[in-house]
């Protein structure tokens, strides 16, 4: 936190109407991180975001972006260095997709060829078909419009992005796809992002850090998602994060984060007696069969009847595996749906890594 990209210091904004106010807010957004402001409606989260690009001017307090006091900058220049996406996107209806994406570079006086290159680059990044570029916004689907909106905000490659419920206007399936796509892009874009949402699940998914805001934009907790799920600072946060706190944590952690158990495993050259000893040792009534480190399947006592080595028995494939990159939520799903109540963990090329059980999962979470 030594080098915040955006810093709000004692910022207050009051409106005549009294709602959406911000009271004495201090918040640092570290460079390159995605900070999600989340809170109930009217809590001032959108106001907070608009204070950063001066669409709303603070009553008192100081805001710096990249170390510079924004009140000392020309608002128009400031805004051109900050990408801005709102829920309704607000594409210009009388301009084509291409013109919409290129609008900020055009304002900044880029040469036409450079704008065209940039538009092409962004449309590829956001999987917008070349034929879409000549269309008008009203001819696009909701998801396409959202992607054009985000592409447009990125056009002049601003170091900072402000996003106000950018995926709010589409159905849940499209939303999830847009979120995944943006998460994948985010890693390579290295932007500092302030993201506003009222949806705690979206916050948990998108954030490096979440600020949970109460009325007046009071920060109830400002921490990485896992920390908020593990250690809610108070009842407000606990209520806001809601039920299924544990499940949400599972979604955020991956199998690679926790230790796996060795599980019952033998090589295919092992004798039946060795296999049975392994079952007795581990307390399972089956063993995984591994050939040169590669998982072949599993056998139980019945399958071993009348054969001399494990390799002679017919190994049955596991119905599902998990890998180190899968979330613990997927591992849990695999555990409860498998006949054996175990998730088998493999790495690339079906290499056997071990197993996960319910006990292992909860032990891993509490550590």
């Amino acid at each position: 936190m030594s080098d915040p990209m955006i810093s709000l210091d004692g910022v207050t904004k009051r409106f005549a109407s009294g709602s959406n106010a911000v009271e004495d807010l201090s918040l640092d957004v570290p460079k390159g991180e995605t900070v999600v402001l989340v809170g109930p409606s009217g809590c001032g989260k959108t106001t907070t975001m608009k204070l950063i690009n001066r669409l709303v001017e603070p009553t008192t307090g100081t805001i710096t972006v990249n170390g510079v006091d924004i009140l000392r900058q020309d608002p128009v220049e400031l805004r051109r260095s900050i990408g801005y996406v709102i829920q309704s996107i607000g594409l210009m209806p009388h301009r084509t997709v291409e013109q919409n994406i290129g609008m900020v570079p055009r304002l900044m006086g880029w040469p036409g060829s450079k704008i065209a290159d940039r538009v092409r680059e962004l449309s590829e990044m956001f999987e917008l078909d070349a034929t879409l570029l000549k269309r008008y916004p009203s001819e696009l689907s909701g998801g396409q419009r959202q992607r054009v909106g985000v592409a447009r905000a990125l056009a002049a490659d601003p170091p900072v992005m402000l996003m106000d419920e950018p995926f709010g206007a589409v159905d849940p399936i499209v939303r999830e796809r847009l979120q995944d796509q943006f998460l994948a892009l985010k890693a390579e874009l290295a932007k500092t992002i302030v993201f506003v949402t009222h949806d705690i699940d979206e916050a948990i998914k998108m954030a490096d850090r979440i600020a949970i805001l109460n009325t007046g934009a009071r920060v109830e907790q400002y921490a990485p998602p896992l920390e908020i799920l593990r250690d809610p600072a108070n009842d407000f946060v606990r209520d806001f994060v809601g039920a299924e706190r544990g499940l949400k944590r599972l979604a955020l952690s991956i199998v690679g984060d926790i230790d796996v158990e060795k599980g019952p495993v033998v090589s295919r050259t092992a004798s039946v007696a060795e296999a049975e000893a392994e079952m007795d040792r581990s307390g399972f009534d089956w063993v995984s069969v591994v050939t040169d480190g590669e998982l072949a399947g599993w056998v139980d006592r019945d399958a071993l009847k009348g054969v001399s080595t494990v390799g002679d028995a017919k190994a049955r494939p596991f119905s599902a595996y998990v890998t180190a990159e899968d979330s613990l939520r997927q591992a849990l799903d695999s555990i409860v749906t498998s006949r054996t109540n175990v998730a088998v963990v493999v790495s690339e090329g079906q290499r056997y890594r071990g197993i996960l059980t319910l006990e292992g999962l909860s032990k891993g979470l509490s550590s």
Binding site: R80, L91, P93, H94, M103, V104, R152
Partner: protein, 247 residues
């Protein structure tokens, strides 16, 4: 029927177009005068009304004041304005052939343009404007690249209404010795020559219809250009609203 036949005979007589029709001037001369005063008064009205409408639509300030003030031009009978301007013209020793009528028509032309421009700008999707502003459009750029293009069809509709009203009303200018199609009507009444009255009336009507059609074409072209998207329907809905002069 005789009157109509005689009126049509006057109009179809080619010599009346270039030479004087019943000592009241040639049709072409009167046409030029009629078009000239109509177009110039509407042009000046555009110069005044357009910036006003854009300003109050963009800034959302002084809206009621400006709209009400501009409606004075509509509330005052053109005839009264003409009379008033005439006395002023006499008092100040300026030409009372052209200026009194010009002022009356100018005032008449303002309200539809102000109102339509204002409503057109105001009705532009607030999210489009916010997104643009948030990404670094200056106020002028918001106006130039978004609000004006999107409200252009409605602005043109306002100009169309003004122009047609002005062409119809310009006939009054003949009362203060101004020359145009109204001269035929005026002289016809003065001399009890009913065919001349009717010929003048037909000419005014035809000119008004021609202007209406021409502006309708312009409006259509602008509408297609500025909003190729189906979103354009918003303007039709607006046009039906109270106090809006979308023809």
């Amino acid at each position: 029927m005789d009157v109509l036949v005689e009126a049509l005979e006057l109009l179809f007589d080619g010599s009346n177009w270039t030479g004087s029709m019943l000592d009241s001037g040639s049709i072409l001369t009167r046409l030029w005068e009629h078009v000239f005063i109509s177009v110039t008064s509407v042009a000046l009205a555009i110069v005044v009304a357009l910036p006003l409408g854009l300003y109050i639509g963009h800034r959302r300030r002084f809206e009621a004041l400006v709209i009400n003030l501009s409606n004075v031009g509509r509330a005052l009978p053109a005839f009264a304005v003409l009379a008033l301007a005439y006395t002023v013209a006499l008092r100040w020793q300026i030409s009372f052939e052209f200026w009194p009528a010009f002022i009356a028509l100018f005032l008449l032309a303002i309200p539809p343009i102000v109102t339509n421009t204002y409503v057109g700008v105001k009705e532009v999707d607030a999210d489009v404007v916010e997104a643009a502003r948030g990404m670094g459009f200056s106020e002028i750029e918001v106006l130039r690249r978004i609000e004006i293009p999107l409200s252009l069809p409605l602005i043109v509709a306002g100009i169309r209404t003004s122009l047609v009203q002005v062409i119809a009303t310009a006939t009054l200018a003949a009362i203060t010795a101004g020359g145009n199609f109204g001269r035929f009507i005026q002289n016809g009444f003065a001399r009890q020559e009913r065919p001349l009255i009717l010929a003048g009336a037909i000419l005014v009507a035809l000119l008004a219809i021609a202007a209406e059609l021409l502006m309708a074409l312009v409006e259509k072209a602008v509408r297609q250009r500025s909003t190729e998207s189906p979103d354009a329907t918003v303007f039709d809905e607006v046009g039906l609203g109270p106090g809006v002069e979308a023809a």
